[in-house]
């Protein structure tokens, strides 16, 4: 399980903290309190059990043990533990979900999920997940998934 609670977090938002605004960081943040706003990072965010976060997050790795309302975008991996509650869309290259996690939202996992362009496409919101186009068109998509970016 990636979501260890070890001490490799240079920044910790404590359980009594109530934070509103925009947060940027390089390495890793362990969030134990309440957060409202956006988070952008090339590092790792851990939303600990009991913590809540509402807003969008972009990071390399996102571990959720607490409650999140908002969209998550990870270039690396997202991990939802059994205590996690996520309401929002999820785009990530890799995903791990443990039994018990609550998740309501759109989910794109794989090479497509990590691509930042995916999010800005409004059509993706209404498009059904199951592709009903002719096989030839779907094949083109599949070939693109195998590609570099």
């Amino acid at each position: 399980m990636a979501a260890d609670t070890g001490g490799d977090f240079p920044t910790i938002i404590g359980p009594d903290a109530n934070f509103k605004g925009e947060l940027r960081f390089e390495k890793a943040v362990k969030h134990l309190g309440r957060f409202e706003g956006t988070i952008e990072s090339k590092g790792r965010l851990l939303v600990a059990e009991g913590a809540s976060l509402s807003g969008d997050v972009k990071a390399e790795t996102i571990d959720v043990q607490g409650e999140v309302k908002g969209n998550l975008h990870a270039t690396g991996k997202v991990c939802l533990t059994s205590t996690a509650k996520l309401e929002g869309d999820l785009h990530t290259a890799r995903l791990e979900v443990n039994e018990g996690a609550v998740f309501v939202g759109r989910c794109v996992v794989g090479a497509n999920g990590a691509r930042p362009t995916q999010e800005s496409k409004p059509a993706a919101e209404t498009k059904p997940a199951v592709d009903t186009r002719p096989q030839a068109d779907q094949g083109r998509d599949r070939a693109a998934v195998g590609g570099k970016r």
Binding site: L95, E96, E99, V104, G110
Partner: protein
């Protein structure tokens, strides 16, 4: 194409209708019955899919395992679903949906529990919360 096997689970003799969601007792060896509530025919077998399987609706009161070589293209109503191969279609599960690291899933999932292993590919709308699928199936009851 697909192997059928009689359900072997010990306590699994109460099944929930894949049409109306209501529960009923069935004989231990039964493979299909008619729902006592809505009179629809119910499949209560478990399935292991090892090759391509496309259908208008794939519904069973039992479990479905899609092996690495398997590919299911269908809407699915099931108790538990395990995906090691490919699935394309919307899923309503009464139990747990598991997507192993070799699994590729494209479709929406309504289920009380979901387990996704690192490496799995997933694309769709998810509603994973306790009693999710049960509620939805009961809504369709006449």
């Amino acid at each position: 194409m697909l192997k059928r096997q009689a359900s072997t689970s010990d306590g699994g003799r109460t099944v929930h209708c894949t049409h109306c969601g209501r529960a009923q007792e069935v004989a231990r060896r039964a493979m299909s019955v008619f729902c006592v509530h809505c009179t629809q025919r119910l499949i209560i077998e478990d399935y292991t899919i090892t090759s391509y399987h496309a259908t208008r609706m794939f519904a069973t009161c039992g479990d479905i395992v899609v092996e690495k070589s398997g590919f299911v293209s269908a809407p699915i109503r099931v108790r538990q679903l395990t995906v090691r191969g490919r699935v394309q279609g919307n899923v309503e599960a009464r139990g747990c949906v598991r997507i192993d690291r070799t699994g590729q899933f494209r479709g929406d999932i309504v289920a009380p529990r979901l387990v996704v292993a690192d490496g799995a590919q997933l694309n769709g709308y998810l509603r994973i919360a306790p009693s999710s699928a049960g509620d939805r199936m009961e809504e369709r009851a006449p």
